[in-house]
Symmetry: C2
Subunit: 259 residues, 2 copies
Amino acid sequence: MAQMADKGETFPATVENRGGTGRIVLCCEHASNHFPAGWGDLGLSAEQRLAHIAWDPGALALSRRLSASLKAPLVHAPVSRLIYDLNRPPFSAGAMPARSEIHDVPGNATISAQERAARMRAIYLPFHTALHDLLAERMALGLDPVLVTVHSFTPLYFGKRREVEFGVIHDDDPSLARAIVKAAASTGLRTGLNEPYSAGDGVTHTLKLQATPYGLPHAMLEIRNDLIHDDQSVARMAELLTPVLNMGLAEIQRQAKAS
Amino acid sequence: MAQMADKGETFPATVENRGGTGRIVLCCEHASNHFPAGWGDLGLSAEQRLAHIAWDPGALALSRRLSASLKAPLVHAPVSRLIYDLNRPPFSAGAMPARSEIHDVPGNATISAQERAARMRAIYLPFHTALHDLLAERMALGLDPVLVTVHSFTPLYFGKRREVEFGVIHDDDPSLARAIVKAAASTGLRTGLNEPYSAGDGVTHTLKLQATPYGLPHAMLEIRNDLIHDDQSVARMAELLTPVLNMGLAEIQRQAKAS
């Protein structure tokens, strides 16, 4: 179980709207609940494979709407985070978790170093290389890219209700996250800075790897998944967040000019 | 001038001793003074192309000796830093400098955004992807890699004599650099922490990109190039630095166990 059928197969990131002319580059690491044949279902039920442990429900649909409204390229994951969590480094147990929230993941119970490296090569490297290539191209062209990652979180976690609706998380540079939180005041969404997690919880790997080394402004958006559960609610959330992100961007541009 | 002959050509990093069993991974970003035909000589004289502005003289020869003595994989640059400086980000003027120390670089005087992006794609991306792949593989296998970059510096800079002989520079985590400086006391080398430059001078891009996001211990070694000017002096320096690096590594391993 949990061995790749074809050891050399790779799962490239999907890149949409590559030529988008906005400054924001969107990234959705938990877009997919696809379980490729080589790894099978990791011993999970169909219901578990639809749950938040396998992916971030609603995050890809929202990312696609924001990609259109913000003219933003979008890089998203081709497989479930339970095969390899793209927002975790290769040495992290959480990259291929044996347990997620209240669920055991049988196919991840024992993973050899070789299998860990094989998944990393098949999924992690192609994804982060694609995102890095895209950001580096824009940096070289003088387009000053900004990285925004899009996630969703479960309303009920370990049996506890989460009241926050929209979380904005940052790594080393808080400027864009703070500007987004400020701009979100007009939406009526219960918004929190560094909620429901923060960098200290190890959830900012993509920001740390792709934005912080270059000093790129960045933010990780977390939307409670009951607010993006169907087309209509996703469309409504995209309508709410598009001006919020544009205002956040305008604010950091204003700050950059003033400094 | 300074246009690529073949727009699609890439210049892969050279990787030696890939299977080296040590924890240290060596990187030599300024290994080469090769000027590929597509860019020509950038308008520089033969003498200028041999000088420290084009590469770090002695650094590759020293890196190769250390690679053997430390059983360390070595990733090194295929072209001159004046075509693309691999230790600078794509938006940096210093990645393709129009002037270096007291020398104008005519072929870099005016570079279009497209040419900047072409050089970045041809040289920067293949190099940093190769280094990232190698480090990520070792992380996934649980081999706890440590990144050490090897540079040389000129004894005379803007007409001023530099007294330091061996500099050890760090990015976010000073532990390995401090341990190396301490271990170097026995060598008699005039050694300085964060000399002749420091992270604040923007010289730690490779460490920032490849080590810091993963929390990998790291150090950038700077050796005064008059001390590694021929085979004999390089061999002598490798003999001096091999135990210093091993002691530095042992010290951070001791600290990690104690914490």
